[in-house]
């Protein structure tokens, strides 16, 4: 049993996971742009949505993304203390922490939902996190529309 689980763990189950990535306009969005300007490469599986601030993201939108068939949701914002809107990222942090617990309880693998702080200069971190998350999700079953497997 254990050996099959271990083996199935290493099997690629989803060659093309889809990740909805929320970017804030001031830090992580600029970090993403800098990754482009610096010609860093990362997988095309991350699909960006730019909002003004990570605090704009209604947790309901995350759930909606999963229901629409996203294999993962990545929320990015300014580092704590650096928010352009003073405290927006603290609010995002609180909301998304509660949401992540909720998602875990209903059986969503924690690897599918990440919250990361990326500054305007951290292009390499941006590329690293997106690459890492896509890699992680390849070992999980694809999500289908409506949350069904």
């Amino acid at each position: 049993m254990t050996s099959t689980m271990q083996r199935s763990h290493k099997e690629i189950k989803n060659t093309n996971p889809k990740i909805i990535m929320f970017l804030c306009r001031w830090c992580s969005g600029k970090g993403a742009d800098l990754a482009g300007t610096s010609r860093l490469q990362y997988p095309p599986n991350v699909l960006p949505i730019m909002v003004n601030c990570s605090s704009r993201i209604d947790p309901q939108l995350v759930i909606e993304a999963f229901l629409e068939g996203a294999d993962g949701v990545l929320i990015t914002g300014c580092h704590l203390g650096d928010c352009h809107y003073k405290t927006g990222n603290y609010k995002a942090y609180k909301r998304m922490t509660i949401l992540s617990k909720l998602l875990e309880q209903i059986g969503v693998n924690p690897k599918r939902f990440r919250l990361e702080w990326i500054s305007a200069t951290e292009a390499a971190k941006f590329a690293k996190i997106t690459t890492e998350m896509v890699e992680d999700l390849k070992y999980l079953e694809p999500y289908r529309k409506g949350g069904k497997r």
Binding site: K18, W26, G36, N52, S55, I57, D58, Y85, G88, T121
Partner: protein, 657 residues
């Protein structure tokens, strides 16, 4: 809204930048399938005049009422396309950009994947633009007054330029005098004119300028607001000496407290009541509250007793003042790299190993030795001095990864000045490369090396050791390919520049982006060298990276010119994408009032409504996400529009697989 949505999509090839990885023809074919796209066209460069004309003509001829431009980042060209849309008589907020360059073509190699992603991003922009409503930019009044933070040469130059253009300026400086590091320098390369002689006229001009309010011993505590109206809280620390001071120096003679003089890099003593340097501006004394015995409790009041002007006031207290400014220039400068961290050079242990700025003070006529080079250990004049370039610089493994730009030149200047004082002395410079990229800089270096016989050895010094009363230098000559061992009477470490504490503090107060070292990041390294990510905040001088004096001055003038582009307007347009409340569904739970970081939402008890103060709303959207009844929306970034984006991005999943 019942009007028919006629959407125009314009895809930019950006030369090869986008077209190289995104199959434009295929993308057009895919997007054409969407029935609500009335017009689609591509262009080599959408931002060019022909590209913009294409957009404008299509809006008219195809009767478009929504526009999507798929090109670069909105930070790059959104203003370009918004004004083109406006020129074509279409509300500019009915435009959306799809970033298929920075976030697609430059970061992916596989053409098929990149094309699919680009199509999805364009489709999500189409979904968003459908939901957009026409908006009108908010007009806000501009406070026609600038704040310059930091009173070094950069801040001085910026303040003078803005004031000379007829606008009010407040210049604030943490220390008791303006002048910054430049006031500590002896002579300046490559012309060898005396630093004080060229700086002090500018300092005096600041103090006399009717348009400049100078606040010394002052710090910025909080900055609120936005371009045109920054509300700034400034703390003015007590000076304990009033303007009545006539600089007679009687107080200094009786003061019993002796401490290191910061201006002379600790190479000479000063008293607890002092003046930073003779030409200080404002020209009156100051008491250092940390060491004075008179502040609390009052043990000693010798200075107050001898002061004929009654200028000493131990009861002076700090003040908090608030003011509003239209633009802010950050000119908080640098500090030298702490060379104590370089163990092998023994700075702090070997007394005659000194830093560049310390040598600068020894060279200065108003310095601790009145311009005679003396060894800190025994006061003797050195015969051989070794200057080590790149101390702590260009050493990514252990210290700073970057080149500080000025050290080659100032070490050369030091060697030259030392030779001028003693023509028979020996000056030896250890260097990695001699970098002389500046007007007349190479000539200056050639003069030192060829005419004035300063010795240059290419190679690094591995250690410095005390050997009797001399210093043993062990290093390598990388041209000869052999080890070097020699003795010197003094070693000067040419250390690089790091951001000052003030630069770090202010960037955290203003929420400015910084690089990994802590220097403030420019909005664009080439085309917006003095702008920051925050509109209305500019950066001048070494706060954004190492610079020499000519570059700092031109940088400061540039920042001033940019600030004037704001100050010269009576009103500014502000993005209208702010929150709005749907009163019919609002449950008056006040959740939004608590989450708003700007206090922009309030409860009006007379009308029993929760309302938004439009001038204060910055459009973060935190309230919209928090509202339990979904009654708050951020204009043109509504829940429905983000939700539609998500659906569009995930739509073609099967197709991609």
């Amino acid at each position: 809204m019942s009007e028919e949505k006629r959407i125009g999509v314009f895809i930019c090839r950006c030369g090869r930048n986008i077209a190289h990885t995104v199959d434009i023809d295929k993308a057009i074919e895919e997007i054409k399938k969407k029935h609500d796209v009335a017009f689609i066209e591509e262009n080599m460069y959408m931002c060019s005049d022909p590209g913009q004309n294409l957009l404008k003509e299509a809006i008219h001829s195809k009767d478009l009422n929504r526009v999507v431009v798929a090109a670069c980042s909105r930070d790059m060209h959104e203003p370009t396309f918004m004004s083109a849309t406006k020129e074509a008589d279409l509300n500019p907020y009915l435009l959306e950009m799809a970033n298929i360059r920075e976030q697609v073509s430059w970061v992916h190699e596989n053409k098929e994947d990149a094309t699919n992603k680009a199509v999805k991003i364009i489709e999500s922009a189409i979904e968003r633009v459908k939901m957009n409503t026409p908006l009108t930019a908010l007009e806000i009044p501009v406070t026609q007054k600038a704040l310059v933070i930091g009173g070094g040469i950069a801040g001085i130059q910026s303040a003078l330029d803005i004031a000379d253009s007829g606008y009010d300026v407040t210049l604030i400086e943490k220390a008791s005098s303006i002048g910054g590091h430049m006031s500590q320098l002896a002579e300046t390369f490559p012309t060898l004119d005396c630093s004080q002689c060229i700086l002090t006229p500018k300092m005096v001009a600041v103090s006399h300028h009717p348009k400049i309010e100078l606040l010394t011993c002052a710090e910025v505590e909080v900055v609120d607001g936005f371009v045109g109206n920054f509300k700034v809280r400034i703390r003015k620390n007590p000076r304990y000496v009033t303007e009545m001071c006539n600089m007679c120096n009687d107080c200094v003679e009786v003061c019993p407290v002796v401490v290191h003089d910061e201006y002379n890099m600790g190479l000479s003593p000063r008293k607890a009541i002092y003046i930073a340097f003779p030409q200080a501006v404002p020209a009156y004394y100051v008491i250092d509250p940390k060491t004075c015995l008179g502040i609390d409790p009052l043990i000693c009041s010798k200075c107050a007793e001898v002061c004929e002007q009654d200028a000493v006031d131990f009861d002076m207290r700090g003040e908090i003042m608030e003011d509003t400014f239209g633009a802010i220039i950050v000119a908080t400068g640098y500090e030298p790299y702490p060379i104590e961290s370089i163990g092998e050079y023994g700075y702090g242990l070997i007394p005659d190993v000194i830093s560049g700025l310390e040598f600068e003070r020894l060279l200065s006529a108003n310095g601790p030795t009145a311009g005679v080079i003396r060894r800190p250990s025994d006061g003797k004049e050195p015969e051989t001095v070794v200057f080590i370039h790149c101390t702590g610089s260009r050493d990514p493994a252990k210290h700073l990864p970057y080149c500080s730009k000025i050290c080659c030149m100032y070490a050369t200047k030091h060697a030259l000045q030392f030779k001028h004082l003693n023509h028979n002395a020996t000056a030896i410079n250890f260097y990695i490369d001699v970098r002389t990229a500046g007007k007349d800089y190479e000539e200056f270096y050639k003069r030192a090396a060829e005419e004035e016989r300063v010795i240059y050895i290419r190679g690094k010094v591995s250690e410095l050791l005390q050997d009797g009363n001399r210093i043993l230098i062990r290093g390598v000559n990388t041209i000869a390919g052999e080890g070097v061992e020699l003795h010197a009477d003094m070693v000067v470490l040419a250390n690089g520049l790091i951001p000052s504490e003030g630069t770090k503090e202010i960037s955290s107060i203003l929420k400015l982006s910084c690089d990994s070292i802590g220097f403030i990041k420019e909005a664009h390294p080439k085309l917006k060298p003095v702008e920051t990510a925050i509109s209305g905040v500019f950066v001048a001088g070494t706060a954004s990276g190492p610079k020499d004096i000519p570059e700092t001055v031109s940088n400061a003038s540039a920042a001033a010119a940019k600030a004037i582009t704001i100050l010269s307007h009576k009103t500014l347009e502000r993005p209208p994408q702010i929150a709005e409340i749907e009163q019919t569904t609002c449950g008056k739970c006040h959740t939004c009032i608590h989450v708003c970081p700007y206090g922009a939402i309030y409860y009006d008890s007379t009308s029993n409504k929760v309302l938004i103060r439009e001038a204060l709303c910055e459009g973060c959207g935190s309230c919209a996400a928090a509202c339990p009844s979904g009654s708050i929306e951020l204009k043109n970034s509504t829940y429905r529009s983000i939700s539609a984006s998500i659906k569009a991005l995930l739509k073609g999943e099967e197709m991609a697989q």
